[in-house]
């Protein structure tokens, strides 16, 4: 009974995932598409839990539903109100109609062909036996890696280069956002209920982030999930209209943004000076080194994702923040 139940469960779950993805792309109303995309993020988090990938489920829940949804909605604020869906699909003149329709069908068929070849390749790959060389190698050296959670061991020890460069990619993306312009306008101070939600939600999010960071060594969790949870706490504060969302200003902000890559490089270089390979942690100190790197990475990921949500350099320095606050509470204007 157990496996039959699982198959029916999987079929319904996958139908929900494909249905949400299709609905999110079938509409021309941007807000509706984003809201459905956020729902898809939540269902995907359940799917990763079902596929025994709790680390990925934590990251998907924190980033897929929370952060990218909030990012997209903030960007969608400026969109004109949606035209009735039919009118945008209906082509303007008859000549283009034929062309438009043929083009749409051609693209759809091409995408179906792409999916078909992928499925054919997959079925081919699944037919030959899976030789688990990599997982066996990982579990063999897990003891020397300093952590007992295999995913954290892969991320922070065996493939430390990959994570170092990923933190550099994150930093570059935010520097690009800074170069492109000022932060998006803030949010109106929230009503009573929203404030009530923020008052308990932000502390619990911060506590969960600390717990995830600490648990990352022996259980699913780690710097990415913790950083994303912290960023979600900052996003909620910003949505509630608060001008001070825990981000330092000026030099300190830049230090925190660069902390992830900086600490990683410093650890690598000092190990190099001590005669070990660039990121080859000595087994005795591996655990504490990884924890140090993860703490720095958590803060820089949280700051980076929050600045990405702000959309640019936070324009309100502390002085302005106070000025903004007075202007908001001033009954006259």
């Amino acid at each position: 009974m157990n496996s039959a139940g699982l198959i029916v469960f999987d079929a319904l779950l996958l139908l929900s995932i494909v249905g949400l993805a299709w609905a999110s792309l079938a509409t021309t109303d941007v807000r509706r598409s984003i809201i459905l995309f956020m729902a898809l993020g939540l269902v995907l988090a359940v799917a990763w839990g079902r596929l025994l990938a709790p680390d990925v489920a934590l990251a998907e829940a924190a980033i897929g539903a929370g952060l990218s949804g909030a990012l997209l909605l903030a960007a969608a604020h400026g969109q004109p109100s949606p035209l009735p869906p039919e009118s945008t699909n209906a082509p303007r003149n008859h000549g283009a109609a034929g062309m438009g329709m043929v083009l749409r069908w051609a693209i759809t068929l091409l995408c179906a062909a792409l999916a078909g070849t992928l499925v054919w390749a997959l079925l081919h790959a699944f037919s030959n036996p899976q030789h688990d060389m990599l997982p066996r190698a990982i579990s063999a050296n897990l003891a020397a890696s300093g952590v007992s959670n295999p995913v954290t061991a892969v991320l922070l020890n065996f493939r430390a280069y990959d994570t170092l460069l990923e933190l550099a990619v994150l930093l570059t993306a935010v520097l690009g956002t800074f170069a492109l312009g000022q932060a998006t306008p803030g949010y109106r101070p929230a009503g009573l209920v929203f404030d009530g939600l923020v008052r308990w939600l932000v502390p619990v999010l911060i506590l969960t982030a600390g717990y995830l960071l600490w648990a990352g060594a022996h259980a699913p969790g780690g710097a990415f999930q913790a950083g994303a949870t912290l960023a979600a706490a900052g996003v909620v504060l910003r949505l509630a209209g608060r001008t001070r969302i825990g981000l330092p200003v000026g030099f300190m902000l830049r230090m925190i943004m660069a902390a992830g890559v900086g600490v990683f490089l410093l650890v690598g270089l000092t190990l190099l000076l001590l005669g070990r390979p660039f990121l080859g942690y000595p087994p005795a100190w591996a655990g504490s080194l990884i924890l140090m790197i993860e703490t720095a990475a958590m803060f820089s990921i949280a700051a980076t994702l929050l600045l990405a949500f702000l959309g640019g350099q936070p324009e309100s320095t502390d002085v302005n923040a106070v000025a903004n606050r007075q202007r908001e509470e001033d009954p006259r204007c």
């Binding site: 496996s3 596929l51 990938a53 990251a59 995408c111 949500f309 959309g311």
Partner: protein, 95 residues
């Protein structure tokens, strides 16, 4: 175990195809960015389906680490794309 992997991998391919179609057909930049995120979700579904080893057994940690890194990079790429789209909008309005 194999049927679960195939089922989820199929859904991954369908999501990927939907994403490519959406990215090509939609006019609005924001909808294209959502379509590209859905393509990413399809690829992640594929990777995690390959990593699954059965209800009782531990899954393969390497694709998990890849997907974890992919999710974080995808959101920062989305943030950069949205900043570009916003700047494009400003330039088009002023231009």
């Amino acid at each position: 175990m194999l049927t679960t992997q195939i089922l989820y991998a199929l859904a991954g391919c369908v999501l990927l195809a939907l994403g490519v179609r959406g990215a090509l057909l939609h006019a609005s930049v924001l909808l294209r960015i959502v379509a590209i995120n859905i393509m990413g979700a399809g690829v992640f579904l594929l990777l995690i389906a390959v990593a699954y080893r059965g209800p009782g057994l531990a899954a393969d940690p390497v694709p998990h680490a890849l997907v974890l890194t992919g999710i974080v990079v995808a959101v920062s790429a989305t943030a950069l794309a949205l900043a570009l789209a916003r700047r494009l909008q400003v330039e088009r309005d002023d231009g």
